[in-house]
Symmetry: C2
Subunit: 156 residues, 2 copies
Amino acid sequence: MREIKVKKGQILQHKGDINTRVYKVKSGLLRSYSIDDKGKEHIYMFAPENWIIADNCETSTPCNLFIDALEDSVLLISEKEEEIRNAKVKSLVNRLAALQDRILGLMSSPSIERYKKFLETYPAITQRVPQRMIASYLGITPEALSRVRKEISLEK
Amino acid sequence: MREIKVKKGQILQHKGDINTRVYKVKSGLLRSYSIDDKGKEHIYMFAPENWIIADNCETSTPCNLFIDALEDSVLLISEKEEEIRNAKVKSLVNRLAALQDRILGLMSSPSIERYKKFLETYPAITQRVPQRMIASYLGITPEALSRVRKEISLEK
DNA sequence: GTTGTGCATTGATGTAGATCAAGAAATGAA
DNA sequence: TTCATTTCTTGATCTACATCAATGCACAAC
């Protein structure tokens, strides 16, 4: 378990790496994302202070995700094996609950609802990343998010 | 931890219930699903033999999911608290990995790719449930799945 | 200052998949 | 068996969101 500092833009993990590390964010902001066949980025998660981020793939298989820093950050790095020994079941179950919500949202809610929920759930993130990244997290294009925001502003 | 038998169609858990139970399937097949504002069902998961199924919500809060039996089944019921004590971190991490795949698939793959992957990943389930339920799991309508299947049959 | 470079917005058009409606085929019950 | 119910398919139309393209803005580098 050691501490490192990374600069904004630095890539910690590439897709295809065999990476056995887990990152805990002490300060700053990381994200994980995939790049699809057409070269499009899809953000899987944001990790601000006190969050833990890693690819959930098997310890020995190549990662599916990239992880990089959206802000200058300070991280604690630990090995997955160690993490598996220390992880609290409770916090994993909470994470399962969040993913369940995300899946059901993707299947049943239109983009405007997903965006409103994001604003409620992660108000701090909204201030810290460009809108196109929120769009990517929501599974829509920046253009679509821009129109959603316009529609919300007209509702008021 | 007790064993019960349930008939096909029997509902084990309603959305809104405070349900602290976890079901392990000894034989048969369960599913969990939500119903959205427009009354549409969205299947969250299928649980065949040896799978564990439950709503991932907080122990004390109302569930988001329905759980029912798609076949006559034999189940082992345990309490969530007990389950949290006994759960293996490894199996939870595997589940996280599966959900990660599902989310990235919903965001980046067209329905035909999601269906092909489903066939590879859960070939047994395909034989046991009506197609409209697979459509529901994939986040598309039965009509759309029917057309996807037609397209696949023409590819060959 | 000027000249990028990335981001947000807006408009025009395209498309995957939804919805609606009708038949056909399979399944189950009496 | 027959009748009813559910499931699957097919066609016509609709819509949410994507794509493509142009413009305006902010902010950083020089």
